[in-house]
Every structure is written in C-alpha cells, then in structure tokens.
C-alpha cells in the first residue's frame, strides 16, 4: 500500500457554540477514490473548507506528500494542488467559459494583459480532456446548460495542476446520463493518479466509485477502511451510531379522523404522485435527503406553486390553494425553513408581526382596530411565554428562539387546522429545540394536525406518529412510528438502498 498523498490529523474546528469537527483524521491515496459519508451536519462540508483554505482549523495538522503544510488562503491550497468541485457551482454567468475556467490564473501575455488566444486554446484542451468537447470555450456561461456548467466547474477545478480533487456531492443536480459521464471522468482522474475525495449520500455511487471510505458522525470520525471489505449495513450503523440521548415529550393524544387527504399531487419538475393523509391530532414526519422535494411539496400545499395537479381534500372539501391567502383561508399554515428571510419581519414591531396574517380579524372594512390587534398579540405572546420588554419593539431585537415564537404566535393567531413546520429546529440551541418540541405536543393536544419536515432522524423518530419518506421527488414509503421503526430503515429508504444488502 502506498503512502497517503494528503493526510489530515486530529483536525478540530469550533464555531461559536458548535464544535463542527473534533479531532478528525482523513487520508487520501493517489489513484484512489475515498468516499466521505455522513448525515447532514456531520461536518463534511466544514472539512472540505478546512482542506481548501477557506476555514482555518483550530487544531490539528495537514500533511501533503509527507510534508507538514498550512493553507492560510484558498490560493495556498490551489498552489499545493488541492482543488474542489463544490456542491453549488460558483461561476459567473456573464463571463465566457474560458474566462470562468481561468479566472484568477489566466495566462498572461505582453504588458501582463490576458493572452486570449492562449486562454481559449488551453480551455479547449481541458474541456476535451474531460470529455466535454461539445462545449465551446468562447461562449458566455449563461448560454450553457446546467449540466454543462457543471463540466465547466470540473474543468476549472482541473485547470490548476491538481493532485487532490475534492468532489462535494457532485451528482446532486445531474441527470442519469450526466452522472454516467461524471463517473467515467472520475475513473480517468483515478487512472491519472489523482487522489480523490468523493462526498455523496447515494450508496450506489459510493460502492461503484470508491475504494475507501471514511464515516463522520456529529463532527467525529467514526470509522474508515476499504470499501470492498465492508457491508452497507455496517456503514449505515456507523452513520447512525447509538441513539443520541435526547428527550422528547410524550403525549397521549387521540388520533382522530383524517383532516387532510392528498392524492396524485404532482408538479411538472419537482415531485410526482404524492399521496398521504393527515389525521386530527397527528404529527406526520416527512423525512428524506436534502433535495428530495419535501419542502417543494409543502410549498405547493401552501399555494405557492400554482402549476400543480392532484386532489387535496381538507375536512371533506376539495380545495385548490392558488395562493398562500387561499391556503390560510383553508386553515393551512406553513412555517418556512429560513425564518429570518421568510417568517419574521425583523423591522416591524412584534405585535404587527403576530397580527399580519390575521388582519382581517382585527380590522373592520379595511380599518385596523389597534386595541383588538394588541389584545390578539398579547394573548398569543403570553401563551408562548414570549420574552420581550414590549410588544412594540422590533422583532429584530429578539433572540433566535423568541423570533421563532413570534412566528409560531403569528400562525396560531389565525387558528389553523393544519400547521406545516419545515425544519422547525434547524439552527437553534438545545433549549429552544425542546421548547419547540413541547409546543408541537401542545398543538396536537389542542386538536391541530402537524406536518413536520425534518432531516434530523432523532427528531423524526421522537416526534412523529407516522413518517413519510420521500426520495427524488416521489413518495418512497410511509412508516408507522411504532417501536420497530429504526433509524437504519429510514436512511435505507431515503437513500434507496435495497434490502438485499443486509
């Protein structure tokens, strides 16, 4: 066995309040593909940033070809020969393909000006090399299809003399044919002797391409080895680990009749044939990999995506929400994932935030009734134990947890039947998480029904009565959340791992 080309030893990276990486090791060998596996938030992207000079590790050492190195800037990583193809490609639409490839290190001619003929010729060579001879080097990037843009990003990554190539979920946005092309490219890089780090959620890709694997969980390295010696089930076990000690409130709520029935719900490009029903007093979990289409389905239910087909029945009546206002009228509310951007209006007073969707209740003939409005806001703020000096202060002055309460108060105030929570505890501290979970319990006790989209398995298992798993825009399976439902089963289902591997 050869020496590793790049070796990371005991890398630690801490952000305020979060330890993203804790003493992790990683080794990349020339001519081999190493797969980096882990759930969302396991620290994979942080590691990539530490390897490419975007983040500086707080502790630990990096060895390149046996020599200890530091990478104070992304440029330093570039010069060492470490290059990354990121999840979302960072390219410039208004520049040509060649300019995008050579931005920052374009060949210079006389007077230190850009040597265009040389740059275009070099770009041509690179594109041909990765099997993208159909892309012209001198057209603007905006005239290139999304899949081809990805190839341009690959060409850009290879335009430096790179020995280490990092691919962070490169197949996420590609179709099957394009994925095949990418695979043959990876094979070629491998035979050129490059050391490749391949990050993916999809087990079929990992088993097809990778020679080795490293598994991360909660910022720690929990296992590595040669893939040929390892069963899928062993890797899944490493990813999940023992169940995280997290207490979820127990609740004793009678599950009532269905309040929402969705049949054949489809969208031209985002999801198809979604069918589920939601019962009174139920928490229905929606699990899936990022990009499986869960949020898209919810936004469509909330009337934000008009071009959908299918039947939605709410309390026995067929509804077709064409706008959020329609959905709100039908008693459906949606708490979006990015609460800063879409939920709470930081520059408006708290009471105005709370009353915004209920203005028809607190007004008469279009005129506001301030007393009623304050009453409504005060009522829900106290029910949620919202801590604020005054309801007239701007919502932006509140802490994250209290902002979340403002959003919840605002939706409760319209007295909905169904409340959709999209990643309700993403990015908030443990204490606020527990408060949100308790609160969800209270919601269903009051006879509401909750749909909870979450990528956190403990949360899904701890809160849901049933779990809908989505994969690639389709419904994969619906599980009853009794004692027998395991994290492994959810991950298998979401990632599309066949049963035969067990």
């Amino acid at each position: 066995m050869s020496e590793p080309l790049l070796r990371l030893s005991k890398i630690t990276k801490t952000f305020p309040g979060v330890r993203a990486l804790h003493a992790v090791d990683l080794e990349l060998y020339p001519g081999e593909v190493t797969a980096l596996i882990g759930e969302n938030g396991a620290g994979k992207s942080t590691l990539v940033k530490a390897m490419t000079g975007i983040y500086q590790p707080d502790d630990g050492e990096i060895f390149f070809a046996g020599r200890k190195v530091t990478m104070p800037t992304p440029h330093a990583a570039f010069q060492l020969g470490i290059t990354a193809i990121h999840q979302e490609t960072v390219l410039f639409d208004e520049l040509t393909v060649a300019e995008n490839i050579f931005l920052g290190h374009s060949p210079k001619g006389r007077f230190n000006l850009i040597d265009w003929p040389k740059m275009n010729a070099n770009a041509r060579l690179l594109l041909d090399d990765i099997g993208a001879s159909h892309i012209a080097a001198d057209i603007r990037l905006k005239d290139v299809s999304i899949a081809n843009k990805h190839l341009v990003a690959v060409a850009r990554a290879l335009s430096v003399e790179a020995d280490v190539v990092i691919m962070d979920e490169p197949t996420a946005a590609l179709s099957h044919k394009e994925i095949e092309d990418l695979f043959s490219l990876v094979e070629k890089l491998k035979s050129d002797g490059k050391a490749i780090l391949f990050i993916s959620h999809k087990f079929d890709e990992i088993y097809r391409l990778a020679d080795r694997y490293t598994v991360f969980r909660d910022g720690e390295m929990v296992g590595n080895g040669v893939l040929a010696d390892t069963q899928q089930s062993q890797i899944v076990e490493m990813m999940v680990g023992r169940s995280v000690e997290q207490v979820f409130p127990s609740r004793a709520v009678e599950i009532g009749p269905p309040v929402l029935n969705v049949k054949g719900f489809s969208h031209p490009t985002e999801f198809a044939d979604i069918e589920f029903d939601l019962h009174k007093g139920e928490v229905l979990g929606f699990y899936g990999l990022v990009g499986a289409g869960r949020s898209e389905v919810m936004q469509a239910l909330f009337g934000m995506t008009p071009s959908t087909s299918g039947t939605i029945t709410s309390n026995g009546q067929v509804i077709s929400p064409k706008s959020p206002a329609d959905a709100i009228k039908a008693g459906i509310v949606y708490l979006p994932e990015e609460r800063g951007k879409q939920g709470v209006i930081l520059d408006l007073p708290i009471f105005q935030n709370i009353s915004l969707p209920s203005l028809s209740q607190t007004s008469r003939n279009g005129f506001l009734r301030m007393a009623q409005e304050f009453e409504l806001a005060r009522n829900y703020a106290s029910r949620l134990d919202l801590r604020a000096a005054s309801l007239s202060q701007h919502a932006g002055t509140l802490s994250g947890g209290n902002q979340q309460k403002v959003v919840i108060a605002k939706w409760l105030a319209i007295q909905p039947n169904i409340i959709i929570l999209d990643e309700p505890t993403k990015g908030i501290d443990i204490g606020s998480k527990a408060a949100v979970h308790t609160f969800m319990g209270e919601l269903v006790e009051q006879g509401l029904s909750v749909i909870m989209v979450s990528s956190e398995i403990p949360e899904i298992l701890g809160m849901s009565d049933r779990v809908v798993v989505m994969r690639e825009g389709r419904l994969a399976e619906v599980f009853d959340n009794d004692k027998s439902l395991t994290a492994e089963a959810l991950i298998r289902c979401a990632a599309g791992i066949g049963e035969q591997a067990a």
């Binding site: 206002a325 939920g343 209006i345 203005l359 506001l368 000096a389």
Partner: protein, 326 residues
Amino acid sequence: MKAITRNHEFWLAIVVMSMILATALRSPGFASPEKLAVIFNDSSMLIILALGQMVVILTRSIDLSMASNLALSGMIVALVNAAYPEIPVPALMLLATLCGLCLGAFNGALIWWIGIPSIVVTLGTLTIYRGSIFLIAGGKWVNADRFSEDFVQYTRIEFLGLPALSWYALAIVIGFFVLMTRTTLGRSIYAVGVNPNAALYAGINIGRTQFVAFCFSGALSGFCGYLWVSRYVIGSVEVAKGYELTIVAACVIGGISIAGGVGTVAGAVFGALFLGVMSNALPVIGVSPFWQMAISGAAIILAVIINASSQKKSRRLILRLDQDAS
C-alpha cells in the same frame, strides 16, 4: 424621549424650522403667518405628489412617470374645460384623478402581470405619457384666456386664510396618515416593502399591493394635473417637466428608504416642505437658483447618510439584558 430624538422626521422638522428662522433674521417678514401660508401653498403639490411616490417607494418600486402623468391628466382637463366650460369643476377634478388613476394602473398592471421592474416600466411611460400630450393637444398650448373662471378659482378661494390648494393638500395628508397607520392596506404596504418573502407567506399578494400603490401615485398625479393647470393657468407639453426627480428628492430627504419598507407620511411632508422652504428662502437671502440645485442635492446625500448611520445603531439584541421586565 430617546425615541423622538432618534426620529428622522423630528430632526427634519427642526431643520425646516431653523431654515425659516435663519431666513427671517435676514428678511424679517419671512416668518410671518402670511408668508408661511404662501410657502405652504407653494409646497402643496409637492407634498401631495411626494405622498403618492412614498407609497410606491415603500413597496420597493419607483414611479418616474408621475410628472408626465400629471401633465397629461392636466392637459385633458384643460382641453375639456376649454371646449365645454359649462362642466362643473368638481367633475373635472374627478376626471383628472380618474385619468391619473388609469395611467397609474397601467404602470401597475405591467409590473404585476408581466413582472417588469418598475423603474423600466415608468421610464417608458414617462416618455409615452409626455408624448401623448403632444398628440391630443396637437402641439398647441391651452392659454389662460381659454379657461373658465371657476377652473382657475378652485385652487385660489381662501378659507381661514389658506387657499383651497393648501386645504386639498392638508386633507390628503390626513387621509394618507390614516391609510398608512390605520388600515390593513397600509400595513400590507409596509410588510411588502420590509420583507416581501415574509409578506408572501402571510398571505399578502405582493404584486397586487404594488399595483394598488401605483394606482395611488397615479390618482394623486392626475389630481395634481388639475391643480397645476389651474394654479399656473397654462396647459402645455412642458408642464412639470423634470419634476419627477424633485418628487423623489422630497421622499429621500424625508427619510423614505429607496430600499423600501421604511418611511412615514410626516417624513414625506417635511421632505417636501424642506424643498419648498428652500426655494422660497434662497431668493430672499440673495442666493442664485443654481446654488439651490446644489443645496438640494447635498440635502439628499446628507439625508441618506444620516439614515444609514442611524440604522446601523439598531443592531440585534443578542445579550440577555437584566431589566427583562415589562
């Protein structure tokens, strides 16, 4: 108290008053009630137009066609009055307002349905509306002798020492104050401007709100079309040419954020009064009108700097404060 001294409108009011007092030192009559009434009357149309522009800017848009809309609506009522002097003036006021409303709605519809940025739409209609004046009037002016007596008098009749023009402005200011602070529409306008995404999730139709805002700016422009023609007793292609930028200037000086969502009726009123007082004061103290342009330009930039620096102070409260009581 602290809230008041932080307030942009408060400081602007102080500045406007200081300008009046400083001018009065050089020219004692300047602060007399009669002269102040004249200044207010001079500023009335700008106040009305600034309120219309304010509503549009609050929704993250801009209406550059207001002055052209004003001139076109004004020309229409001028021609109607010249041809049919027997039509009562209130009907003509209504006609001017409706004309303006339609022109504003046209802007708004293009923005709502087709999704063209407002600056592009109104830059286009600015020229279209202005050009239409030439077409409907055949390039001719409507001169003073062709207007009926009532048409001219309806902006001039005095009541409690103020001309009718000033009373129209006052009524509209009160109306807009109620609109912006006491109605669901006003609330929606702020919500759309501050955070369109959150407004969308709260069930507010962003496009429709912007459409309504353009209807307001259009209707007020149309109404001012009558006021302008009546006050200056002339209808021509050149009426209020370039005035759209003065209107925007009044809004910006008044602390209405071009980024949307921030601004008040009081701000728009004092922004317009600032420009009105300045244009009255500078000739009195013997400053050339060219300085006037430079000063109003400086005032715009100063207003934006002051606003930007005051917004920086209100950062997020992350630290837990001990006085966490009510």
